[in-house]
Amino acid sequence: MNPLLLLILIPALTMAGIMLAGDVKQARVISAVGMSAQLLFSFVLLYWFYQLRQSGNTDEMVFVSTTVWYPSLNIQLKFGIDGISMSMIMLTSIVTFAGVFVSWQVEYLTKEFFISLILLATGVFGFFISLDLFTMFLFYEVAVIPMYLLIGIWGSGPKEYSAMKLTLMLMGGSALLLVGLLGIYFNSAANGGPLTFDLMQIAKNGLPREAQMFFFPFTFIGFGILGALFPFHTWSPDGHASAPTAVSMLHAGVLMKLGGYGCFRVAMYLMPEAAHAMAWFFIILTTVSVVYGAFGAIWQKDLKYINAYSSVSHCGLVLFALLMMNETATTGALLQMISHGLMTALFFALIGMIYGRTHTRMIDEMGGLMKVIPFVSVLYVFAGLASLGLPGLSGFVAEMTIFVGSFQNVDTFHRVATIVACSSIVITAVYILRVVGILLLGPVRNNHYLELKDAMWFEKLGGVTLLVSIMIIGIAPLWLSNLLREPLAAMLNQLTN
C-alpha cells in the first residue's frame, strides 16, 4: 500500500473513533491521539523522503501509486508527493495538531466539532497528495464544506451570515475551477492519446495555446478566491472573525494555502503560456491585495479582523511572488506559505485564548495583558515580530526571498509592483506594533482582568509547537528551501520554456 494513503486513513480512523466515543473526554483524547499520530507520521514521511533523495532518487514525484478508478473517463486515484507537497503536509499536520489542543475546551456538540475539524484536515491532506485533477477537486470540496457547519454552529458574532458568505464564495470559486478543470481535461490530449486528468501527464502533453488562454483565468481565479485574491477576498475577514479558534487557524493557516498551491501547481504549471501572457493583470490584483490588506488591518479594532486582513495581505504576497516566475521569488512564495501558515495559526490561537479569558476582541477595551497573562502575551509578541519580518523568525526569511526574487525582474512594471508591495512591510509594522502597544503594554484597563489565569497546559502545547516551528524555519531555513528548490527547478523549467 502507498504510505501516503495513511495520511487519509489516520484521520478517517480518528473520525470513526470519535463517533464511537462515549463522552466528551474520550472524544477529545481520541482526536488528540489521532492528530499526534498524524504529526508523527508526517515526520516519518519526511525522513523517508530525505532517505529516498539521498539514495539518489531524482524522480519528480515519489511514493507514486496509480489505480484506475473510472476507466471510461480515465480518472485515476493517483497519489505522489514532491518537496513542495511534503512541506505542505508538514504544515498541515502541525497546524491541525495545534488546532486540536487549542479546541480542548469546546463544550457544545464536542464530537461533531472534532469530526468536522478533522474532516476538513482530511480534505487538505488529500488535496496535497493528489496528482489527479479529479481527486484533487474532490478533496478541495471536502475541505471547504465542513467550514459551513464549523462556523455556523460553533462560531461567534454574525456567524450564520459569515458561514453562508464564506461557503458560497468558495463554492463559487470551485464553480470557476470546475470549468477550468474540465477545459484542461478535454484539451489534455491535443497530440493524440487518451484524455486524462493526470497532472504530470498533462504537463508532459502540453495544452494548446487557445485553450490555455481561455481556461487559465477560470482556474487561476477559481483557486485564487481561496487564496483571498483581491477583489474576491471579502469572505475572508468575515469568515475568520466568526469562526471558532481552531477553524480560523486551519483556515488561514492551511486552507488558504490550497489556493496558492493550486494556482501554482495547476493553473500556472499546466498553462505556462497563458500564465506569462496574463501575469501582468494578476500581478496588479495581487499588489492591490498586499497593500489593501495591510491598510485594512490598520483600521480594524477587532483582533480577528486585524489578523484576517493581514492574512489577505500575506496571502496576496504569496500569489504575487508566484507570478514573478523566477526561482528565488517562487521559493520565497512557498516559504511564505509555510511561514504565514504557522504564524497566522499562532495568532488565531492566541486571539482565541485572549477572547476566552476577556470575552472581548476589541483592542480598545483591553490593555496591560502582559502583566496578567504573560505567557500568552509573550507568544503574541513573537507572532507579531514574525509577521512583520524580524530576522531570526520565519517571516523574515520568506519576505526577504520574495522581494529579492521579485527585484530580479528588471522591467519597469515589475519593479514598480515590487516597490509598492514592499511598502506593506512598513504598514505591517505599524499595525502589529500598534496592537502590541495597546493590547499588551500599558496599564491594566479593567480590574476584573487581574484575576485571569494564564495559558493552560493544552494551550501552551499548541502555542509552543507553532512557535518552535516558526523559530526553526527562521534560524535554519536552508533545509526547507532546499526541499522546495529541487521540485521548483523542474516546474520553473516548464514555466519558462
Partner: protein, 469 residues
C-alpha cells in the same frame, strides 16, 4: 406467446399479478389493513428481485414492445424507487383515515408504474402514448387521494388539467411525425432520417409534452401546487418515479429514434436547461414549506439533467441515467426523513425543523448527507453525478452552459444549506420531539443511504451503465 415471451415481459406480468391482488384484497374485511400493507410490500419486493434476473433482448407484438438490457435497468431503477416509496408510505397507508382505501392507493400507484414501463418499452409512438396516459391519469387520482383536504382535491384537478394539455401537445407532435414519416414505428422512423422545418417543430412539441411531466420551465407551473397539495407519498412518487420515467422516455426517444438529427433537439434542450435551472433556483430560494421547497429543487435538478443531452453519444446517455439514479436516491432519502416527521407530527414547514438535530441526531445526519448529495458535495454520490453531467456537456464544448450550471449549483447550495442551518444551527425551544421510526422506514432510509454513500466510489456501476448504451 410462449413462456419466454412472458419472461421477457416479467416486469409487466408480475406487476399485473400484484395489481390483481390489490383488487381482490380490497374485498376482504377491513381489519386486515396491516396485513395488506405487509403483503403488498413483500410481494413488490419479490417482483423487484425477479426484475433483476437477466433476460434476452427482444421485440414483441410486431415491434410494439421492445425490451433490452438498458430498458430492464431503467425499469429496475423505477422499481427500486417505487419500493422505497411503498416502504415510506407504510405508516401513512395504515393510518386510520385511510381505512379501507389502502387497496385503492396501491392499485392506482402500481397502475401508473405499469404505464411507465410501457412508455419505456414502447417500440411505437402509439404505445408510448398509451403508456403515458396510463401513467398520468391515475396520478391525478393519487394527487387527490386525501380528498377530505381541499388542497389535495385541488392538486388532483390541477394535475388533470395540465396533463390533459401536455398530452394534447405531445399528440400534436406525434401527429406531425406521422404526417412526415407515414408511420409511428420508432425503428422505421429512425432509419428514414428526414430533415425539415416541420420535423423540428414536431420534435419541439414532443419535448414540450414530456417537459410537462419532467416539470421543465416553462411547463412547470403545476408542480409546486400539486407537490404541496398531494399526500407526501404521492409527492415523493412524483418527484422521483414519475420524473424518472419521463426522463428515460425522452432519452430513449431522442437518442434512439432521432439519433441522426441531434442538432434539432440540442438547442431547444439547451434553452430549456438554462431556463429551468435559473427559474427553479430563484423560486426555491424563498420557499418555507418543505414540499414546495422540494418541488422547486426538483425542477432545478431537472434542468441539470438536461445537460447530459448535450453529448450525443454514450457519455450523454450514461450520465443521464447515472444522475437520475443518484438524484432519485438522494431525493427519496430527504422525503424519507420528511415522511417520518410528517407521520409523527404532521409538520412540514422549514421552521419546524429548527433544532431538529438536537432531538433526532440520526435523522438529522441522514438529511444532511442527502441534501449534500442533492447539492453535489463530495464525498457523497451527488458530486459524482453532477461532475459527470458537467463532463458530458463540456465534452460537446458547451463550457458556457457548464458555467451557468455550476453557478446554479452554487445557488442551490444556498437553499440546501438553509435546511441544514435550520436543523443544526437555529435554536428552538420546542423542537420536534425524538421520533421512533418503524422497521420499514429504517429499511427505506438504509437503502437510500447505502446508495448515496457507495455509488460514487463503486465505479463499476458507472461502467456497467455505460456498457449498456
Amino acid at each position: 406467446m410462449t413462456w419466454n415471451t412472458l419472461f421477457i415481459m416479467r416486469h409487466e406480468v408480475l406487476l399485473t399479478l400484484l395489481i390483481m391482488y390489490e383488487l381482490l384484497a380490497d374485498l376482504s374485511d377491513e381489519t386486515n389493513r396491516t396485513r395488506m400493507v405487509n403483503v403488498t410490500i413483500a410481494g413488490f419486493f419479490l417482483y423487484m428481485l425477479a426484475g433483476f434476473v437477466p433476460s434476452e433482448n427482444a421485440a414483441l407484438f410486431g415491434g410494439m414492445y421492445v425490451n433490452d438490457e438498458l430498458r430492464v435497468l431503467l425499469k429496475n431503477i423505477l422499481s427500486v424507487s417505487t419500493f422505497i416509496v411503498l416502504l415510506q408510505s407504510s405508516g401513512w397507508a395504515k393510518s386510520p383515515i385511510h381505512q379501507g382505501r389502502a387497496g385503492a392507493f396501491y392499485l392506482t400507484l402500481l397502475s401508473t408504474l405499469m404505464g411507465m414501463f410501457f412508455m419505456i418499452s414502447a417500440g411505437d409512438f402509439l404505445m408510448l402514448y398509451l403508456g403515458l396516459e396510463l401513467a398520468t391519469l391515475p396520478l391525478a387520482l393519487l394527487a387527490s387521494f386525501d380528498k377530505e383536504f381541499r388542497r389535495s382535491a385541488e392538486a388532483g384537478a390541477k394535475l388533470l388539467m395540465s396533463s390533459a394539455v401536455s398530452s394534447a401537445v405531445l399528440l400534436f407532435g406525434l401527429s406531425l411525425m406521422y404526417g412526415i414519416y407515414g408511420t409511428l414505428q420508432m425503428e422505421d422512423i429512425a432509419q428514414m432520417n428526414l430533415n425539415s422545418d416541420i420535423h423540428t417543430i414536431a420534435i419541439i412539441f414532443f419535448i414540450s409534452g414530456l417537459g410537462f411531466k419532467l416539470s421543465l420551465v416553462p411547463f412547470h407551473l403545476w408542480t409546486a401546487d400539486v407537490y404541496e397539495g398531494s399526500p407526501l407519498p404521492v409527492t415523493t412518487y412524483f418527484s422521483v418515479v414519475s420524473k424518472g420515467a419521463a426522463l428515460f422516455t425522452l432519452m430513449l426517444v431522442l437518442y434512439r429514434v432521432f439519433r441522426y438529427q441531434p442538432e434539432e433537439w440540442r438547442m431547444p434542450l439547451y434553452t430549456l436547461s438554462v431556463l429551468t435551472m435559473v427559474v427553479g433556483n430563484l423560486f426555491a430560494l424563498r420557499q418555507k414549506n418543505m414540499k414546495r421547497f422540494l418541488a422547486f429543487s426538483s425542477i432545478t435538478q431537472a434542468g441539470f439533467m438536461l445537460l447530459g443531452f448535450m453529448n450525443f453519444g454514450r457519455i450523454g446517455m450514461t450520465t443521464i441515467v447515472y444522475f437520475m439514479l443518484i438524484y432519485g436516491l438522494s431525493n427519496l432519502a430527504v422525503f424519507g426523513v420528511l415522511s417520518i416527521i410528517v407521520r409523527a407530527t404532521g409538520k412540514e414547514s422549514m421552521d419546524d425543523l429548527n433544532g431538529f438535530y438536537s432531538t433526532n441526531p440520526r435523522l438529522g445526519l441522514v438529511m444532511l448527507l442527502s441534501l449534500f448529495s442533492l447539492a453535489g458535495i463530495p464525498p457523497v454520490a451527488g458530486f459524482f453525478g453532477k461532475f459527470f453531467l458537467f463532463t458530458a456537456a463540456a465534452s460537446a464544448g458547451m463550457y458556457i452552459l457548464v458555467f451557468i450550471a455550476v453557478l446554479n449549483a452554487t445557488i442551490s447550495l444556498y437553499y440546501y444549506l438553509l435546511v441544514v442551518k435550520a436543523m443544526f444551527i437555529n435554536k428552538n425551544e420546542t423542537p420536534i420531539p425524538s421520533i421512533q421510526s418503524t422497521f420499514y422506514e429504517k429499511l427505506a432510509i438504509g437503502i437510500c443511504l447505502t446508495g448515496i454513500l457507495a455509488i460514487g466510489f463503486v465505479s463499476q456501476l458507472y461502467e456497467y451503465i455505460q456498457g449498456l448504451m
